[in-house]
Amino acid sequence: MQNIDRRNFLKWSGVLTIGFTLPSMGKANPLNSMLTDTLAGELNAFVVITKDNKITIFNPRPDMGQGSTQAMPMLIAEELEVRLEDVHIVSTTGAKKHGGQGAGGSTSVRTKFKTLREAGAQAREMLTEAAAKRWGVPIDECYAENGQIIHKSSKKAVKYGDLVEDAAKLEVPKSPKLKDPKDFKLIGKSLPRLDVPTRVNGTAMYGIDAKIEGMLYAVVLHSPVIHGKIVSIDDSAALKVAGVKKVVKIERALPHKTIDAVAIVATNTWAAIQGRNALKVVWDNGDFDKVSTADYFKNIHSAVKNREGGYTNKDAKGDVKAALAKAKKVVTGEYETPFTAHAPIEPENCTAWVQGDKVEIWAPTQGPDWLMGTVAEKNGFKPENIKVNPMLLGGAFGRKAYFDFVCEAVDLSKKLNAPVKLMWTREDDLMQGPVRPGMVYGLRGGLDENNNLVAYENRIAGGLLGWQLGKTPPEKSDDSWAEGVKQEDSPYDIPNRVQIFHLEDTHIPIVWWRSVYTSTNSFAHECFMDEMAHAAGKDPLQFRLDLLKEEPRFANVLKFVAEKAGYGKPLPAGQAQGIAVAHSFGSTAAYVITVSRQGAGVKIEKVVAAIDCGIAINPDNVKAQTEGNIVMGLSAALKEPITIVNGVVQQTNFHQFTPLRIYEVPPMEIHVIPSTEQPGGAGEPGLPPVAPALCNAIFNLTGKRVRTLPFDLANLG
């Protein structure tokens, strides 16, 4: 519920006497209020209407800034025929009846588009039937509008709340009739997000704002060399710090291994931080102090150079080796992308309260159900004894679907036998991982005598998330490592085409980062497609379109952005444009970026984007997400690598890890392509084509091909 106007919620929260303690206001014993299975006035798992006409809609996807607080309820409200202003929105808390509740992979709208509309339609049909019965009229003479059922001819009207008792007794329709999209009143409109006011006046409650009576505060000392083991703890000085209560050894459970950490517990966060500064721990680093990103890159550059072994992706086709041997011209290119951090401005934090065999958790989590599974496994609680209060997330980008910080808080509360808020500082966030894996790409392309692209080989080397997180080998990873560049995502018609993965096993904790493998794959792939276009002597846009004759929807995104950006038209002297496209998470985005010369480098004059995400639930929010993707994509291309030397991350805070600031952000223009197709994702697909469009523009302007990220825009060398 933290997503809605809190005052309104407080006014009516008494109605639902079970389940919904305010996340931030833990009462004497919140564990007595575990969510029960059925609520009064529950028409289905997502719609609850009470007799006093309060309408509650459940949002099954946590909001990390992507707008699920609006998009999910809109789907229900559309079919339920209510205005969002008139309903209360409550976050789900992991209960099975709400289905999958993880926000990740830009899946919210595309997986819930049908089911949530059905939930709204079910309730609408039940209410309509109840009204028809009451009036003794045929159902088809009644319709729903604005929270009421209306009888067409007599104009009699009855509010949902007056019908709910009767409606709840009716059978839930299995396949309710969904509205024709042309009748949509909410979907497709750029309606203001109703939670925005709470995000500009300080009342929105993020994980870090959780507060429960009697709560202690903790920060954690992690081993600077990730995976270091505790040899000894000297807490004498730490315990002398005013406010410090205790120093406790705790476990940091990564998905694949559990490592040591030490919590400093105090009466406030500042005291805990001071205590940490005074704490002395001797660590046994084993061989982990030999881990370095430089060695990692050396290994994977060798792997793609040697061209031996590796795992071939499933949709490989033709005989690339033979085709390359026969080709008139062969082009090679080796690309590198860095490790990078998510760095949400709200650092990882969790408030936990273990009481006996039960635990209640307040956390910024990308998935309350995922979190429950992890806590059950790592901390040893029965799922039914775990209560999760999903708080707003102050950014996440994949990081807050990795629950090491939650497991730490639960472990600490258990050991303290008290409620505790455990907070990571920026140093923990940047220096402890997990991070996006660094990748290297070895590409070869072959042109025939007519300059047609006849062979394409992409050797992709680096860490494999599934392998580290769950020992899933490449052959069982559904070619996740080839996302964005495999045939189904990048449908260029190339007769001989292969992606080959070289797994680099690494101790560096790695995880998904906004748009995951596509975020790096597309850089190499789309820059290399440009290299091939230039080698063929063709315009890069035309070269791509020639390979997309059977893919009109994909090609249209390129054409659309090209037209909007005036691609191919004369530019002012000293300017050039670059183009790139990528399909990921169900949507296709393309960019034209214009650059100009500036000293030894270039300046980005403008970024123009087009995105085809099918039906856009809220086009303005799709734009907002794309704006964010431009900034994050540019940050990752131009700034912020994470580097590790002797096992230690070298970037400790925002003075060394430097996402773009306002004065570095170029003008941008986003076009959401009108569509009646099924919705795709919106939170991630806008990111991957940013870096290649920029680097393709730089090549067109300067003749210099950027193959390694990040690079210095002000000095191209």
């Binding site: 800034g65 709200e346 900034v631």
Partner: protein
Amino acid sequence: MAKYTLNINGKPTILEAEPNMPLLWALRDIIGLTGTKFGCGMSQCGACTVHLNGSPVRSCSVPLSQVKKGKITTIEGISTDTNHVVQQAWIAEQVPQCGYCQSGQIMSAVALLKSNPKPTDADIDNAMSGNLCRCGTYQRIRKAIHLASDMLKENGGKMEMPKGVKTASSMKG
């Protein structure tokens, strides 16, 4: 421990804390004003921006001993009903995504408009350069500051909008 009477959002607030405790943690952990956010602890991200005697400061780096009788304004204190022109402009432009950094962004923007009611893009870049937004809302922040500047002029230079004027649609265009 020392006893302080801080002037926060126009109200005297008594608390006991260590003199070296940054204002941020006093606001958040002791006083319970959690609208001011923690992001870095070293004046790099601006999420903790508040006003001290009208000027923006990073509260993570201002110890209580330095605050003294200074007037502190936090995000909770800039308007009575979310009706500050900057808040209204932020709503009209739908600036926030996750919103976590926006308290700090807004405090910086309010301070900018106080000293410079008609800022240029360069003025905005300069005044807002200390505030990071990882969601990438910078383009909308820029637009919203220009809008707030226009609203300020229409509102006779008063920072708080009259009651009732608060929907996004009434702000736009």
